[in-house]
Amino acid sequence: MFGNLSRNDWLLVLGFAIVVLVSPWTLTPFGAGYPALLQKFCIFGIFAMGFNILFGLTGYLSFGHAAFLGVGSYAAVWSFKLFTMNVIPAVIFGVLFAGIFAVVIGFVSLRRSGIYFSILTLAFAQMSYNLAYSVLTPITNGETGLQLTLQDPRIIDNAFITPGEGLPQTDLFGIPMNGYPGFYFCAVALIICFFLTLRIFRSPFGMMLRAIKSNQNRMRYTGFNTRPYLLTAFIISGMYAGLAGSLMAVTDPLAGAERMQWTASGEVVLMTILGGVGTLIGPILGAGVIKYFENIFSSFNDRILEQLFSFLPDAAREVAVWFTGLFVGEGWHLTLGVVFMLIVIFLPGGIMEGLQRIYNRLGGGSGPGAGAPDTAAAQPAE
């Protein structure tokens, strides 16, 4: 299990772990050093990393990945309601149910490729979303969302302790999962996921997935049954999403159907593309950047802008405030859309390609082929 990673890869994992674990301190000067935002980085990092195992390696663009996130959340909240507030079973249930869900959806959707695959996944996700809002209300609690209540059976917890006043908190064997402990739980999950992803990237299996993206026909005539490979990748990536969903419930024990909407699936696509499709670090970076700027930009309002542009003469200030106002606060999604378009048009390899280009220009690399395979610019999928 732990053998055979090269020394550099071990250093990479170690470096990554350190960066993640010290982030409460390093990110404080940037105004991001508080647990609610930090755990978002981790959760969406896991989501995007998992999505990348499918899209980045095989080129199959799923537009329905948010469904797995939602399933993970619902499963986790149910575990809190029925069994125990301990987060470990919740996470296991989240991953498990998302995995089962992915088996079903993947099995059907992977019978087609290209845009048809995208539409099939989209259709399944929308079905899940619509059903969660209507018929499945007993399971999902419809529009209100699934929440903890005082009447929850919580059989395991109640067998051992007398319930206290009010709603209980999620915990890890007694450590309450709010604030920094919650973040560190997510951080450890992220580091484990990173390690596993690195293993996949460096394995023959990962190589086969890349080969499928490059030329699926050749794979078939080379003796590979490509569908189980794709299905495995699909399930793994669905389980990552399920983990991310259950972690959301761990840090805030409620689950709503809007988490499954196709625009939510679009968001993870955005993160992956922004960071760099098919790269190891890129999707985590993309998730972090998007969640960070979402946080910053959304908090801007006209008053802050007025202050920001107070040095300008009145007329110019008004124009400046109006124009910037388009992109911040409520307009954050506009910024996101514009940035996304610019990335797809000018920098298809995302941030990682940008970094690679800068690195090459500074004379550090000797041509594009010099980087490790996972940092090479991703080829768009067929």
Partner: protein, 338 residues
């Protein structure tokens, strides 16, 4: 029997909207080979053309206080103020009249979109096309949200179409047995007109002939020395206008808001896939078919047997069709087979 007729009728207007959007989508796909996720946004923009037009002509004006009056008269839409009864009836008819605004505006938007963005993505992978147009759709809807707010903006059909049509009496059945809102009927007829116009354009004009030839075999047409790209630009403009018109006329049925486009886009894509990528008759057929199916699925009798079926019927049909007939109902061989 009457229940069936009612459900068919109920499905028609939604089906008509699906058909019109899907028609443009598949036209763009068949000619330019581009998968346009921003097409729903064009539908939404069309709807907001109607909103804008209405806003412009109903801009309130405060008439001056006359001598001896205690209170100023209430504010009036300036069109009514300026043109009296004519102005009032123009306001009454603002939705259909805003077509006149929508056609040039949507054409311009379409051409600008093709020239400015889509053109550069002909040669890129379909995934890239999906992604960039998805980004564009977000941008467009957020701009609309900025200017028009997040709430739906109800629009009125002309007063004379507000009631319901007594369809049963036309067929000599019991009066008021089957009633149907006039505007929905108008919408259906309007969609037939637009669909007919698009088909006629492609079928009977030389321009359309070249476009159809280009859909079949772009390279050969290009070899004949015909500038197929320029014609395809126009096709994109037409698709944009069709989506826009569908949006304009839909406003009295469904109050438009900024995410109207996204809501319809997903369904329209499903419609295109069911009809067969690149097949125009397929898109129209599938549009109406799915609209009607959806309306049947929302019957209480059906929901009683299969709860929630109305929520997923379209997707279910799409999944079934995609798995059993990969080319859709009327798709051509060789279109996106890999």
């Amino acid at each position: 029997m009457d229940a069936i007729i009612i459900q068919i009728l109920n499905g028609l207007d939604k089906g008509a909207a699906y058909a019109l959007i899907a028609l443009g989508l598949t036209l763009v796909f068949g000619t330019l080979g581009v998968v346009n996720f921003a097409h729903g946004a064009l539908f939404m923009l069309g709807a907001f053309c109607a909103v804008t037009f209405n806003k412009i002509i109903t801009w309130p004006i405060q008439p001056p206080k006359a001598e001896g009056q205690l209170f100023a008269p209430p504010a009036k839409p300036w069109f009514e103020y300026a043109f009296g009864d004519l102005g009032a009836s123009i306001i009454n008819w603002s939705v259909p009249i805003s077509i006149l605004l929508a056609i040039p505006v949507m054409l311009l938007i379409g051409l600008a979109m093709e020239r400015g963005l889509i053109r550069h993505f002909y040669k890129r992978a379909h995934a890239d096309q999906i992604l960039v147009t998805f980004g564009l759709a977000i941008v467009l809807q957020e701009i609309v949200k900025k200017f028009f707010g997040a709430n739906p903006l109800p629009q009125n059909a002309p007063a004379m179409f507000n009631g319901t049509a007594d369809i049963a009496s036309w067929f000599g059945l019991t009066d008021m047995f089957i009633v149907y809102p006039w505007w929905r009927l108008i919408y259906f007829l309007f969609s037939l007109l637009v669909i007919g116009a698009v088909f006629a354009f492609l079928q009977f004009t030389t321009y359309g002939m070249v476009v159809r030839a280009g859909m079949r075999d772009r390279e050969t047409v290009g070899l004949l020395g015909i500038n197929i790209e320029r014609r395809f630009t126009v096709v994109f403009g037409i698709a944009s206008v069709v989506a826009g018109l569908a949006g304009v006329m839909y406003t009295p049925i469904l109050p438009p808001d900024y995410h109207l486009g996204m809501d319809f886009l997903v369904l329209s894509f499903v419609v295109v896939v069911v009809g067969g990528m690149g097949s125009l008759p397929g898109a129209v057929l599938a549009g109406f078919l799915l609209g009607i199916l959806q309306s049947f699925a929302s019957m209480n009798e059906v929901k009683g047997i299969l709860p929630g079926i109305d929520q997923i019927i379209i997707y279910l049909v799409a999944v079934t069709i995609l798995l059993t007939m990969p080319r859709g109902l009327m798709g051509r061989k060789g279109v996106m087979e890999d």
